[in-house]
């Protein structure tokens, strides 16, 4: 202990001795570093926005304007937008996407809350369930497509928004549990114990003590699961053949199969899919970032 103390005192002295010139150097180096990082990040931000901004430009241009190349419209025109809604039943598909995503998220959250409580507080049994869920998440979803197709068909839920909501909701449970588990672990056990002493059951304690404390995590997990269900494509294209049950992602891929497709319409349709998630992500930025980073770093 004595040596440790003297070493730290020695270090402090050394620090003080060199402080003036070294400090000036590190400050200027820090400023340079900050400038470089800002430049790198600005370039990254441009790269992150570029493809979607190009879509915006394409969606406002006519066929000739597009084939002439260039970044910006020579003349802004809006007719691609209504045209895209005629080529493919976009409005119906947008509604389907929202129904599927909202339904799936509700289901995921309902299942994930008790499950995450179990994985965080259930000792060895909880740990086992946690690793089973993670293992299930690791398998590529294409592995489950054929069996799930036969299951949905046997209960009459192919070509159905409800069927897709159920499948997406169940498939996203591991992600929600993974994110929530860390939040539940950080709830002090004493708070729950106090609730029990007051006569609450374990389940009531989860509802009245744990749930309010993990709410930020719950919102973040819901958002992530909403995005996953809204963006889902493999199950949707495998289980629904009729436009009445197809989400937007399938509609966009249909554009692709059409040889005579117009870039402008395709761009407009893609933006119809992108805009809602971007708005949601920007609006809930802080919650999303907090939930993802806190949940994952344990």
């Amino acid at each position: 202990m004595g040596t440790g103390f003297s070493r730290s005192a020695d270090r402090a002295q050394r620090g003080r001795a060199v402080s003036a010139p070294v400090l000036r150097r590190t400050v200027s180096a820090g400023a340079a570093r900050r400038t470089v990082s800002r430049a790198v990040l600005a370039a990254a931000a441009v790269l992150a926005l570029l493809p979607v901004l190009f879509l915006v430009s394409l969606s406002l241009r006519g066929v000739d304007d597009i084939s002439n190349g260039g970044w910006l419209p020579s003349q802004v025109r809006w007719d691609n937008w209504p045209a895209a809604f005629h080529t493919v039943p976009l409005a119906q598909m947008l509604a389907n996407s929202w129904l599927i995503a909202v339904g799936a998220t509700l289901l995921t959250v309902l299942i994930a809350v008790p499950t995450a409580y179990l994985t965080a507080r259930g000792g060895r049994r909880g740990a086992r369930l946690y690793s089973l869920l993670l293992a299930a998440y690791c398998a590529p979803p294409v592995v489950a497509v054929l069996p799930l197709y036969f299951l949905l068909k046997s209960v009459g839920l192919t070509n159905s928004v409800l069927g897709l909501a159920l499948v997406d909701g169940l498939a996203n449970v591991p992600v929600a549990v993974w994110l929530l588990d860390g939040f539940v672990r950080r709830v002090p056990r004493e708070l729950e114990e106090a609730a029990w002493v007051d006569g609450l059951s374990v389940a009531a304690g989860v509802r009245r003590v744990v749930l309010p404390l993990v709410l930020p995590g719950l919102v973040a997990a819901s958002l992530v699961c909403f995005f996953l269900a809204y963006n889902e494509f493999l199950f949707a294209v495998s289980f629904s053949q009729s436009p009445s049950a197809q989400p937007l992602t399938v509609g966009l891929s249909l554009f692709q199969g059409d040889r005579t497709v117009q870039f402008g319409q395709q761009a407009a349709a893609s933006l119809v899919a992108v805009v809602p998630v971007y708005l949601l992500a920007v609006a809930a930025q802080r919650l999303l970032v907090g939930g993802l980073s806190q949940g994952a770093v344990k």
Binding site: V18, A44, P51, L129, V142, L146, L148, L248, A281
Partner: protein, 311 residues
């Protein structure tokens, strides 16, 4: 009398507090039910039926018609498109992971060095992650189109007019890698940035007082602290990259030739497009499952070793 019950109550409190570790109440069994059911539907049932499908002759209309032994596996092995697709999937997963981890760590370090709040810039950097992959494919495909794309002017200047990055096998594969990394780099950046924020300031200060520069501190002090998070992000990226499907459908449909036909796309094509060979597709999914399991087992082993060495 009231006093004595009060005393008794206090005594029981003390008693329960003194054996707290054992008094921690068991999680009621019904709480396991929702999770167990969802596992059963999304993992247990598909595994059993998948195996059954792989050893029988089936059609989409009528599954499990007759036991055929290993015929489906022979058909899978003889399929030119599938045999190579396993390797393509593995190569894609490893390269995509390397690319997005390298770029993501760089972005995280830059965010950390910039200081200040995550803010609007951080949000913009995260947007690719929430973009529907189908839209990502459409956007990049249009961006790179030989006619009407964003770079036609650049190609003219470089003397390669009409250049199509998706025209050759290697070009298409690399372009898909870039698109996928574009979407999933932000996840690494976010996770590593969060880990960087978690490094105690005292550690950095101590390193600075010891005369270590910024780079030296980053490599020798901060690096080991965030290594487990970087590895966890890498494993996550590996898992995500093995799932790639939407991009392939939208951008290349597996072409040119079979150069971008990864396993998940080939399984889908075998089962739902053209030939509807359900048995063969099921056999292929089993083989893909084994491959992914093997790669992740190795990745998990490496992660655990690093974590153990750290503690």
């Amino acid at each position: 009398m009231t006093e004595s019950t009060l005393v008794r109550a206090r005594w029981s409190d003390v008693a329960s507090a003194s054996r707290r570790p054992r008094a921690w109440r068991a999680v009621p069994l019904w709480m396991a039910l929702p999770g167990a059911v969802s596992l059963l539907v999304t993992a247990g049932y598909p595994t059993v039926v998948g195996i059954a499908l792989a050893f029988t002759r089936s059609s989409l209309a009528r599954p499990l018609r007759a036991f055929v032994g290993f015929d489906n596996f022979v058909a899978a092995a003889e399929s030119v498109a599938f045999a190579g697709s396993l390797l393509r999937s593995a190569v894609f997963a490893v390269l995509a992971t390397s690319l997005s981890v390298a770029a993501g760590v760089a972005a995280a370090v830059a965010l950390d060095a910039r200081g200040g709040r995550f803010g609007l810039l951080g949000t913009v950097l995260l947007l690719p992650m929430v973009t529907p992959p189908v839209s990502v494919g459409v956007a990049w495909k249009l961006l790179l189109a030989p006619v009407g794309g964003a770079f036609t002017g650049l190609w003219d200047v470089l003397g390669i007019s009409g250049f199509n990055p998706l025209g050759s096998g290697v070009g298409a594969f690399s372009t898909l890698l870039v698109m996928h990394a574009w979407q999933w780099t932000p996840l690494v950046a976010l996770l590593v940035y969060a880990a960087l924020l978690g490094v105690p300031t005292e550690l950095r200060e101590a390193a600075a007082l010891d005369g270590a520069g910024w780079a030296r501190t980053l490599v020798s002090v901060v690096g080991p602290q965030v290594a487990p998070s970087v590895l966890a992000a890498a494993v996550l990226e590996l898992v995500i990259a093995f799932k790639v499907f939407d991009l392939i459908v939208v951008v290349t449909s597996g072409g040119p030739g079979v150069s971008t036909t990864v396993a998940s796309f080939e399984v889908f094509r075998t089962a739902f497009r053209g030939s509807f060979e359900v048995g063969t597709a099921a056999a292929e999914t089993l083989l893909l499952g084994v491959l992914v399991g093997a790669v992740l087992a190795v990745a998990g082993l490496v992660t655990r070793r690093v974590r153990d060495a750290d503690q």
